[in-house]
Amino acid sequence: MTLKKNIIALRQKKAQVKMGGGKKAIEKQAAMGKMTARARLLYLLDVNSFHEYDMFVEHEERNFGMDMKELAGDGVITGTGTINGTPVCVYAQDFTVMGGSLGLKHARKITKIMDHALKMKVPIIGINDSGGARIQEGIGALAGYGEIFYRNTLASGVIPQISVILGPCAGGAVYSPALTDFVFVVENISKMFITGPNVIETVLGEKISQEDLGGARVHAEITGNAHFFAQTEIQSLNQIKELIGMIPHSNQKKAEKVAPKKPTFNKNLENIIPSDPKQPYDVRDVIYALTDESKFIEVQELWAPNIVIGFGRMNGETIGFVANQPMYLAGVLDCDASDKAARFIRFCDAFNIPIVTLEDMPGYLPGVDQEHAGVIRHGAKMLYAYSEATVPKITVILRKAYGGGYIAMNSRHLGADFMFAWPGAEIAVMGPEGAANIIFRKEIMEAEDQDAMRQQKVDEYIEKFANPFVAAAKGYIDAVIEPSETRDLVLHALEVSQNKYDHRPQKKHGIPPF
């Protein structure tokens, strides 16, 4: 009889916590076009799979009238569940509870579930929707943030960490997402900044909207802080489900293999690339022609589009693709493209995902802005990431491979396992025009018709050097292949690499040029 009473009391207590900040606050959340924290989790996770932890945690702040305040779950929901059968740890900040503000107990709930994820070797997904530090708690809130960042760093490269920004995420709060592997944002809903528009206006007199300062599009397109951009929360949560299905659960596993499928993209590879090296094309068409069902999950699609990165499957195995994109900025490497590719390569390497590199690039982007922005330092990240990676590394040179870019794009010299080149590939120290101008400077200067002589020398250079056979003769390229053979040969290379073991000197950790 008493137990029955207790059970009823428990149910009431649970029901109360599940109301979060109450009916009014939930209505306000809906009016902003936002789902509640609980609804988000329930949508993200498989039906009936969510198990909540620490529902009855209470804050301990006694100042500023906080002792009178009850905060449901201290403003964050944490727990475990599955996504299409994959176990995951999750947390979702509840904006209806005191603006989702982060106090010490709120943070401790998060760090507890993070520790759990790290121990159980499962991915962790954090849904961020918080006004920031709970100012009433003072440095307790700062301590909470710090403890989260510390765990983000410990978990980095061990379990996949995913952040979704479904509301404001300001001040110190932004650094947890920044430390995680993939950040998802939603147009008009996500806002990320260190100092918001109010502070900027007070201090500097500069007026800017939240959206223009740190909206979803800004982070997806300009800063590169976001990896996946969506129009709605539902779309964003679906993107997460898709990604979780593609990547391994931890660094001790490989991504789950699925049944092999053929590509559905049926354009002939030979016809995708224009013969004129100055004409662009969409390199994603080459990826579609290689992947199972022609599926490709592109990462950071809008930022630094001159390089394309993302995941696809080949014969059921997850592959990381890195490809120059001639459609944007001629496919050059620049600061952002190098940054983007380097971090992705390190993710793939950390999580046992083979890397296929598709190369067609004219070199590094010239310009004062690039040099002053540190293209040397940023470009070096790519060299570092490729050299460091011990997963199977396969390169296909589609067309141009010039200069430093040739080295950077997973060349043999950085430890590529397989180097393929299409017959039209131009592997050379620089573009033929530039090379001819330097090597034959005297002949061109002394010629009666300089332009004609220059053209003649350029043609000579192309004939002799701008082809894959010079590199093939030196063994830098393993095979010159026909485009139609590409998928089969890459699959073969992957098969041969199944038991790849590569040795690296023992060290505490390297010192990449961050």
Binding site: I222, P280, G363, D369, G434
Partner: protein
């Protein structure tokens, strides 16, 4: 094969021009301008607290020009070299952005030097 696309522009990388699209970020990049030593610009956004010089005055290298409060710090901006104050573009209390041209200088000629001495 390549479809006509009006977004494609000529884009020079070394000696060859490629047909390609530009990114918004690339289009918004600031062109390089040679720094002009006669322009005193703000290195950090903030508030002007004090202006210690007047237009037309010749100021010696190292003398105080103005105080710019930024990030809760009083930054004392000094004269980079001996010259004449041509124009002052800020007033006490102004909130100014980064890279604002605060004070314009011009070379001090001999006359000015004499006036100063007298």
């Amino acid at each position: 094969m390549a479809k006509k696309n009006k977004d494609l522009v000529d884009f020079a990388v070394t000696a060859r021009k490629y047909k390609t699209k530009l990114t918004a970020k690339y289009k918004q990049r600031k062109p390089w301008v040679d720094p002009n030593p006669y322009e005193v610009q703000s290195l950090i956004p903030g508030t002007i607290i004090e202006v210690s010089v007047k237009e037309g005055e010749v100021v010696q290298e190292g003398e105080p020009l103005l105080v710019l409060e930024a990030m809760k710090m009083m930054n004392h901006i000094q004269m980079p070299f001996t010259a004449k104050i041509k124009k002052i573009n800020v007033n006490v209390g102004d909130k100014i952005p980064k890279d604002m041209l605060m004070i314009e200088l011009e070379a001090a000629d001999d006359d000015d030097d004499e006036k100063n001495v007298n």
